[in-house]
């Protein structure tokens, strides 16, 4: 275990600088090997900046221009310019445009068409792209995307719910497909999706809440499933789900905050998966969203269903689709 000195504050400025510097790392091979994640990186970075009250640290024009350049004729978005369209990136694109309030820059109808085409009419499941991979992550992507665009009518919602419920497990959790093991990230996707379409009553909140709160380990961090290591990204997926289910108080807030803060890189900025490791923008976002849910000061509140700043969700007029419980 790492012996990093405990951090007691959020290094806001450092993180802002870190995110701004991401696109400059062009002499790192890693930068080029992760090109297919560029659009995701923009979403992660931009959302993080907004939560840090610094959304303008990335120039809006540039961001929007980039997102637009990733849209394809069929309406879907790819991970980078010239790459193939996929449902994952389509969601990221919509999320970014919603933050920047720039949906008018793209062909929304085409997006809806693309997302709708991803649904298998028989099973209700969603494929990631034309190559047919099925995963409940894609159910979330589709429903979240359409919800943000106010176009849930474009798909068969009850069938979508049916498929998600096929992925429910003996422990109250959800897997990526029928029969698959419960995993915090998949659970977030399924519960988030169910919340979007007003079907939370189908979740056994007590049982799942128990499974989720048992993810907190002695060091305060959360793991994604039993016997696995703690990881900052689970402080989003586990926490957001608990929040949606109104059971956020079932974990120890102070210890988790301590854990996330200690995973910060006090020199270069950014947050890592656990104390002592290298930071990356993915864990930076989820560390911040976790802290935000825990009402850490200096951060804007985040919406646990959409993983967007709450003010953005409110701006587009979406109702809060989860149990609301203040921290005592």
């Amino acid at each position: 275990m790492d012996t990093s000195e405990k951090q007691t504050r959020l290094l806001v400025d450092l993180h802002v600088k870190y995110i701004q510097s991401l696109d400059t790392k062009k002499d790192d091979l890693e930068y080029w090997l992760t090109e297919h994640l560029r659009l995701s990186g923009v979403y992660w970075g931009l959302t993080a900046l907004d939560l840090l009250n610094n959304v303008d640290a990335l120039k809006k024009e540039d961001v929007v221009k980039y997102v637009v350049s990733c849209q394809h004729d069929n309406g879907g978005f790819s991970g980078h310019i010239g790459h193939d369209p996929h449902l994952l990136y389509t969601l990221y694109a919509v999320q970014i445009l919603v933050i920047e309030d720039a949906l008018d820059a793209v062909n929304v109808d085409k997006i809806v068409e693309y997302v709708a085409s991803r649904q298998d009419r028989d099973t209700g499941a969603f494929t990631g792209d034309e190559w047919g991979e099925i995963d409940t992550r894609f159910s979330y992507c589709a429903l979240s995307c359409l919800s943000l665009l106010k176009r849930l009518d474009a798909v068969n919602v009850s069938k979508a719910v049916e498929f998600i419920m096929l992925c429910k497990n003996f422990d109250g959790g959800f897997g990526n497909s029928p029969g698959a093991e419960s995993h915090a990230a998949q659970i977030f996707c399924c519960v988030g999706a169910l919340a979007i379409v007003n079907s939370l009553h189908l979740v056994d909140a007590d049982l799942l809440g128990w499974w989720l709160c048992e993810r907190q380990l002695k060091n305060g961090g959360l793991n994604g499933r039993p016997e696995k290591l703690e990881d900052v990204c689970y402080s989003w997926w586990v926490l957001s789900t608990l929040s949606i289910l109104g059971r956020l108080h079932w974990i120890n807030r102070e210890k988790l905050i301590e854990f996330v803060l200690t995973a910060q890189d006090s020199e270069g900025g950014g947050i890592a998966d656990r104390p002592g490791d290298m930071a990356d923008v993915f864990h930076t976002l989820f560390g911040l969203t976790g802290l935000s849910l825990l009402e850490y000061p200096d951060l804007k509140p985040v919406d646990p269903v959409y993983c967007l700043p709450k003010h953005v969700v409110q701006r587009i007029g979406l109702a809060e689709r989860y149990h609301h419980k203040e921290f005592q």
């Binding site: 002499d27 091979l29 080029w32 090997l33 090109e35 297919h36 790819s78 991970g79 010239g82 790459h83 193939d84 996929h86 792209d129 190559w131 991979e133 419920m165 096929l166 429910k168 497990n169 003996f170 422990d171 897997g175 990526n176 497909s177 029969g179 698959a180 093991e181 419960s182 995993h183 189908l202 056994d204 049982l207 809440g209 128990w210 499974w211 709160c213 048992e214 907190q216 499933r225 039993p226 016997e227 696995k228 290591l229 990881d231 059971r247 108080h249 079932w250 974990i251 120890n252 210890k255 890189d265 020199e267 998966d273 002592g276 490791d277 290298m278 930071a279 990356d280 993915f282 864990h283």
Partner: protein, 348 residues
């Protein structure tokens, strides 16, 4: 992105690294550029294929290149060729995938491509796939990609051989659990197979009860051996919830509501309460024992009107103990506690 230690290299070392990487970056970018050129021009030839091989060997997460590779195969080598040639080409793909897999055992894209190959092949060897994935699970029994893949392969094999594999797969989970009963993935798989097994075997009530009782024995041995292991307790809770109603339905809510509050059910609850109580005596600070007793007693209470105050009081003492033992989840136990006291107040 995960689990990379933070390093503070010297300026000298940094410079050296950057120089080394500069050549690699140049080479990689050239590969990608050439590949995209071919892609944009729709040139599905062997050169393009080799480019995809080179790129994917370095970067198996580059999903667009997998897509392109499949297009090349479909428009090129797999188009207008004999069944044998098709089989040969796709078998080579499988070998290529295996090499990549060694370094990337948890890549979605590698598994996706493998499935595509097997579905496109004239004669997929599902048995071989089962053997292969068995070996993977030997090395890492918690690799959920591997378990998912196994769940994908077994129905295919079952269909091809016209035999049910439920029993053998069930036995496979037994083997895995015997190797390490902290193997949550194995217990999970078992929870999926047990209802199917019962249905397939068409067991009568007595045989069904015997089978389920064996499951209780297994899980009991696990939590007596290690009361801190969550897997066994969660499986136990599921078994209780199912009782004699283990079915293939996914809607647990329905089952709970329609479960007959018969004397049989009470007997089951009592029996398990006794088992857990005995363990609690040996391990008074076992939080899972206490939680399980709370769950069992809560249900017992709804079956027996008399003595419900006594049960409530005991549950409350358990909650108090849990609050002391498990400091991280204090508020959850407080919630449990207040639920009981609230319902007590309501009943007066």
């Amino acid at each position: 992105m995960h689990a990379r230690k933070r390093a503070k290299p010297s300026a000298e070392a940094e410079k050296h690294r950057k120089e080394k990487e500069a050549t690699k970056i140049k080479e990689y970018k050239n590969l990608v550029e050439s590949c995209f050129q071919k892609k944009d021009k729709k040139e599905f030839d062997n050169d393009a294929f080799i480019l995809t091989t080179n790129i994917l060997s370095q970067n198996p997460d580059f999903y667009t290149i997998w897509n392109f590779r499949r297009l090349i195969l479909l428009s090129g080598t797999l188009k207008e060729c004999s069944e044998e040639e098709k089989q040969q080409t796709l078998s080579s793909e499988l070998i290529f995938l295996q090499e990549l897999f060694q370094l990337n055992p948890k890549s979605y894209w590698i598994f996706n491509h493998r499935r595509w190959c097997l579905e496109t092949m004239p004669n997929p060897d599902w048995n071989k796939e089962l053997q292969l994935i068995g070996k993977v699970l030997e090395l890492d029994a918690r690799n959920f990609h591997a378990w998912d893949y196994r769940r994908y392969v077994t129905p295919k094999l079952s269909y091809a051989t016209e035999t049910s594999l439920t029993q053998t797969e069930f036995d496979f989970t037994t083997t895995k659990i015997n190797q390490s009963f902290s193997n949550y993935s194995a217990w999970h798989q078992r929870s999926k197979l047990l209802p199917i097994l019962i249905k397939e075997k068409n067991l009568d009530e007595l045989e069904k009860k015997k089978l389920i009782d064996k499951e209780f024995e297994l899980v009991k041995a696990a939590f007596y051996t290690d009361p801190d292991d969550q897997s066994a307790w969660l499986y136990h809770r599921w078994l209780i919830g199912q009782g004699s109603n283990i079915s293939t339905s996914q809607m647990d809510e329905e089952i709970k509501d329609s479960s007959i509050k018969s004397s049989e059910r009470i007997e089951l609850l009592q029996r398990e309460i006794n088992v857990v109580r005995e363990l609690l005596e040996l391990e008074p600070d076992s939080k899972f024992c206490l939680q399980t007793l709370i769950t069992l007693l809560s249900e017992l209470k709804t079956n027996t009107k008399e003595g419900s105050k006594k049960i409530d009081d005991e549950i409350i003492t358990f909650c108090d103990r849990l609050i002391k033992i498990d400091k991280f989840r204090t508020k959850r136990y407080e919630d449990l506690r207040s639920k009981i006291t609230l319902s007590q107040q309501q009943n007066h």
